[in-house]
């Protein structure tokens, strides 16, 4: 480190030099740019994901909305993608970070395929990789603003796990992200049991998604359900849920109470 004399200032009383001390790791210009490249807030976000283990594997549900703050900007975002042959990744949170994660995983799967050794990445391995990536980014104060749900089946064993944006990771029989934590988890804790059939699993997921549709402001009525079994991943076509609004009390709510609603 050396001192650069920058300016002289001649004053009636005294004569002095001003110095600037250059920053250790580069010029100050680069530092300001580095700041603006950290993720500070999420911009385009996806809402909750709900997933459960069932008899043949894992079922995952998500809606197809991408909100830009309080505007529903995108209504056709697929927030669940297949990873390799054995896993299914669902993400809530910043959509661009989700796309970045898909690129990382693409590279990972590609490199794994190039070994051509008959092995393929299972859900446990992908989950571990994602945990490391998320935790590492959080340590650098530049998180990938997502909560990821990783489900898969390999060699007959189903696996369902979750990683949050700060690197908290765990596996469980049923998981939910975002608002699903508060609205879907109570239902799942009560009504999930081992060896659900496919129809029962879908019914349970639809029950949770319906409550989320009623009570989460960023949810839309266009959802997909994805299934992963030993055979592979299938993501359903988008469809919508039936909702019920015909309660008598909704008809004329202020009939007895003027001024309320």
């Amino acid at each position: 480190m050396f001192l650069l004399p920058v300016s002289f200032s001649i004053n009636a009383d005294y004569f002095f030099l001003q110095f600037t001390i250059p920053i250790d790791n580069g010029d100050s210009v680069k530092n300001a740019e580095a700041d603006s490249q950290r993720t500070l807030y999420p911009y385009v976000t996806g809402t909750s994901i709900v997933a459960i283990k069932y008899k043949d594997g894992v079922l995952m549900a998500s809606d197809m909305g991408g909100s830009y703050g309080s505007t529903l900007r995108y209504k056709n975002i697929e927030r669940m993608k297949a990873i390799g042959k054995h896993s299914l990744l669902g993400a809530s949170g910043e959509i661009s970070d989700f796309q970045e994660i898909l690129r990382y995983l693409d590279e990972l799967v590609l490199n794994d395929n190039m070994w051509d050794d008959g092995n393929s990445l299972g859900p446990k391995e992908v989950h571990n990789y994602l945990t490391r990536v998320m935790y590492n980014r959080r340590n650098k104060f530049n998180p990938l603003w997502n909560t990821l749900v990783l489900g898969g089946v390999k060699n007959g064993e189903s696996y369902l796990g979750m990683v949050s944006m700060i690197g908290v990771s765990f596996e469980d029989n049923h998981v939910a992200t975002g608002f699903g934590n508060h609205l879907a988890r109570p239902i799942l804790r009560d009504e999930w049991h081992a060896d659900l059939s496919f129809e029962d699993g879908v019914k349970l997921l639809e029950k949770c998604m319906r409550v989320l549709l009623y009570r989460d402001r960023s949810a839309i009525n266009k959802l997909q359900i994805a299934k992963i079994t030993e055979e592979g991943v299938t993501v359903s076509q988008p469809y919508s849920l039936k909702t019920f609004w015909e309660f008598k009390a909704f008809n004329n709510p202020t009939a007895g109470a003027e001024g309320s609603w």
Binding site: P186, V211, R215
Partner: protein, 273 residues
């Protein structure tokens, strides 16, 4: 010693004299005492013949459970009850106040109280305090016009709903209601659904816990089921109790009878009733 001035009778309303001193203390670093909040799950639903209200029984002071078995369903009138969430003092005070106002009103009009009367009195009070009275209420009752269920927020807005939940456990309870509520529930179905919603709050929300209180109000009749369900009993309690293995050794015994030293004299009049 004479008074230096005439005693002015105190004017009504809030006295702001201590506010400056409190501000100064907070600036100097004193932490204001925290409120006793009822962390809470409260619910109400309308069934075929009336209204069912439910509440958990845990009162928290920050991270500590201050009261394991408090009562959150407050009496307003013989046909109206109110569950309260938020700051415990605020819910108690505001429901007590409106309850006595309703009683005086009943004496004056000679009629049973109506739920919208309680609603209007509560919302006027809460609005005038601009949200500083932190009371979130679920008000339910059956009057001459039928069963009513309302929610009242701390800032004074109200909703009229077929089923309602408030408090920190409101999302957990609401998920149960949204999934399972139907119109025209019978009394038993309604009680079962309310208990299920409160249990959902108790087990999935950290601010709620302990037991389930239920209040069923129908035309001309009310049932307050205190501790209807106790899903968190104390386990591992030995029925024999604890027995000390060794008896304490008695070294010396000295008995001083006190009756001889006490003199009882009858002085003054008995206290008036």
């Amino acid at each position: 010693m004479t008074q230096s001035g005439v005693d002015v009778p105190p004017k009504g309303g809030f006295s702001f004299d201590l506010c400056k001193r409190n501000d100064m203390l907070i600036q100097k670093g004193l932490k204001a005492p925290s409120f006793l909040k009822t962390g809470t799950t409260i619910v109400g639903l309308i069934f075929k013949d009336g209204v069912i209200l439910g509440a958990d029984t845990r009162a928290t002071e920050g991270p500590i459970v201050a009261d394991k078995n408090c009562e959150k369903i407050h009496y307003m009138a013989p046909n109206i009850y109110c569950c309260g969430a938020g700051t415990a003092a605020d819910t108690e005070a505001v429901t007590d106040m409106v309850s006595s106002q309703l009683r005086l009103h009943r004496y004056q009009t000679g009629r049973d109280s109506r739920v919208i009367t309680a609603l209007t009195l509560l919302k006027k009070h809460l609005f005038s305090y601009q949200g500083h009275v932190s009371a979130a209420l679920v008000l339910g009752g059956v009057d001459i016009t039928g069963p009513h269920l309302h929610t009242i927020y701390p800032h004074g807005s109200t909703d009229t709903l077929p089923f309602a939940t408030m408090g920190s456990g409101s999302l957990a309870a609401m998920s149960v209601f949204e999934a399972k509520y139907k119109e025209g529930l019978t009394r038993d179905e309604g009680i079962k659904l309310v208990a299920e919603a409160i249990c959902s709050g108790i087990f999935n929300d950290l601010g709620s816990g302990s037991n389930v209180d239920i209040c069923v109000i129908t035309k001309g009749h009310k049932e307050y089921l205190r501790n209807y369900m106790e899903p968190n009993p104390r386990t591992y309690v030995s029925s024999k109790g604890y027995s000390f293995t060794k008896k304490t050794e008695v070294l010396r015994t000295k008995i001083t009878p006190l009756m001889e030293r006490v003199e009882i004299t009858e002085v003054g009049e008995a206290m008036e009733e």
